[in-house]
Symmetry: C2
Subunit: 171 residues, 2 copies
């Protein structure tokens, strides 16, 4: 996946992490991880090996600043955005090139290869995928209801598009 448009811009992961820090500031790396793990998208694992080095990188670039604490003998870093970080976040949030890009959807990708399914197999696959998607929405995150609403709008639109494409392929 193409991650940077240029060496000075934030990657998608960096921007999302920065926005998360801002939302919860002062914010520990662990909280950033939790936010990624709670996200419905499984594009990023939110693994420790991704997040802790990432936060150090953002710190090294002075986009975030840490107030250090200790819990027992363990260090702990409470991050907030610097003014430079605020500017970088704003640029990321208003990056039209990224906003215009179509992104990535595994089911859509497979529909583009619809010719390789046997008769009815594609319809069956789509039905099963959408069923599973519905089961997963079924367990609503008790978090932000706004987020939940956005998620539902997105998935409903996705389902509609997938069904339309399926029809087109069957015609």
């Amino acid at each position: 996946m193409k991650i940077r448009s240029s060496s000075t811009e934030l990657s998608e992961l960096e921007g999302a992490a920065l926005a998360t820090v801002r939302k919860h500031a002062p914010c520990t790396p662990y909280k950033v991880r939790e936010a990624f793990r709670a996200s419905p998208s499984d594009v990023w694992s939110g693994s420790a090996g991704a997040i802790y080095p990432l936060m150090r990188r953002l710190e090294a670039e002075k986009l975030v600043a840490a107030r250090g604490e200790r819990v027992g003998r363990r260090p702990r870093r409470l991050y907030s955005l610097t003014p430079k970080g605020e500017r970088a976040l704003k640029a990321w949030l208003t990056d039209v090139d990224r906003g215009a890009s179509i992104g990535f959807d595994p089911l859509r990708t497979r529909l583009f290869f619809g010719e390789f399914y046997e008769p009815d197999e594609l319809a069956d696959y789509v039905a099963k995928s959408l069923e599973k998607m519905h089961r997963e929405i079924g367990s609503p995150d008790p978090g932000d209801p706004h987020k939940d609403g956005m998620h539902k709008i997105w998935l409903a639109a996705r389902e509609k598009a997938v069904r339309k494409i399926l029809k087109l392929l069957q015609a």
Copy 2:
């Protein structure tokens, strides 16, 4: 981005490459690259450094077999799927876990951080992103009309969802 569900399954890139080889068999690595470059998604660059090693990997795993040729002094590999490759492709095409996953969309991601935009800034950003998206559709690939239709269905649904979410945020 999470790429493999398990070590024995094909990554998204591998599956798409395999499907592309099957579509154009016997197929050179260059043709696979072209297919990725022509794709509306910019998630993968289709760079030589990605594709040539990838094809070698698929060959080493006996998912594709190469008929070697030479053009002048240069070697050339014409790939086709092996029976094992056909089975792996079928498994990839019918992977319900992947089909159910929400994927990735940069604009959607940003909408989840809608609170960080100033009044009207978000609406402006969305408008500009959609405009750019339309300009890019404006130059239609003279290729597969089916593909073009699917692409348009997808983008129309995406636009509708984005506008709905924007409305929700403004309410």
